[in-house]
């Protein structure tokens, strides 16, 4: 993915910031959640295919971004690689089973340096064990 000035301006406006580091002609940074836009650069396949989860039923539970230094600015070309880090289950508040999956993505720049890592957590509610009589 390429970090682009126009997309930065659009994303900053959509997330409530007019900071010059994001929007002025000499913008040199990207917002902390900007790497979510990698979606615009990836093939349209289901990243959760290997987990057995149903893409129609999963909900986004959380997201984490970690940066090795200042976030990448416009002009940076990043290559990113994702893998399923873990799949686990937890009992939900209503007694049903919740299945979680975490997708880890690493973003490297043109020099091959790791610039950021993201972790996407999704949850699929299971069937509740209590059936109405």
């Amino acid at each position: 993915m390429v970090v682009e000035a126009g997309k930065l301006r659009e994303f900053a406006a959509a997330t409530g910031s007019s900071h010059p580091a994001y929007v002025c002609p000499h913008a040199d940074s990207s917002p902390p959640t900007f790497l979510i836009t990698k979606r615009l650069w990836q093939a349209d396949e289901d990243p959760w295919a290997d987990t057995g989860l149903d893409p129609a039923r999963i909900l986004h539970a959380g997201e984490e971004f970690a940066f090795t230094g200042p976030p990448p600015g416009p002009g940076t070309t990043l290559t990113f690689d994702s893998h399923i880090e873990k799949v686990f289950t937890k009992r939900g508040r209503r007694g049903g089973e919740l299945t979680f999956a975490v997708l880890c993505t690493e973003y490297r720049d043109e020099a091959g340096a790791l610039r950021a890592t993201s972790r996407t957590t999704v949850v699929q509610p299971g069937q509740t064990p209590l059936e109405p009589r």
């Binding site: 917002p31 959640t33 979510i36 979606r39 615009l40 986004h60 940066f67």
Partner: protein
């Protein structure tokens, strides 16, 4: 080392489907549950609701507007409750753990509450403490 004062709460809203669509276009996540009433109903919801990552983005820029875009090193968010059209959101930021002595990092807590008082989206972030340039004379 003194930190800049935490920002005044950022009030956003009443939020609209247009807010959701603007974010969806910007981010590339075009999931129809966030703008199409029929799709939301098919998925079991009473209507379209906000993309969680939009509210996460509001919290992220609240923090970077406060402590500096170059200084963020971690941003972690979880989604507790849905946000609906018409909601009025209050986004707040506060220091969680102050730097003491040698460490250059600070942890902050970020919360996006609905008008009901419920925290819809909750985040923590770690920043490098902004460096203050000492006065010359």
């Amino acid at each position: 080392m003194t930190l800049p004062k935490p920002p005044v709460p950022r009030v956003v809203g009443p939020v609209t489907l247009t807010d959701f669509v603007r974010y969806q276009g910007a981010s590339g996540d075009l999931n129809p549950v966030h703008h199409d009433p029929a799709a939301a109903a098919s998925a079991g919801f009473p209507g379209p609701f906000a993309p969680g990552m939009w509210a996460a983005g509001l919290l992220g820029t609240l923090a970077t507007d406060w402590l500096g875009p170059q200084n963020v090193r971690r941003f972690s968010v979880r989604f507790a409750e849905q946000i609906w059209p018409g909601d009025v959101l209050t986004c707040t930021a506060e220091v969680l753990a102050r730097p003491d002595g040698g460490t250059p990092l600070v942890d902050v807590a970020l919360t996006c509450r609905r008008q009901t008082g419920a925290a819809a989206v909750v985040a923590t972030a770690t920043f490098v403490v902004p460096v203050e340039v000492p006065d010359a004379g």
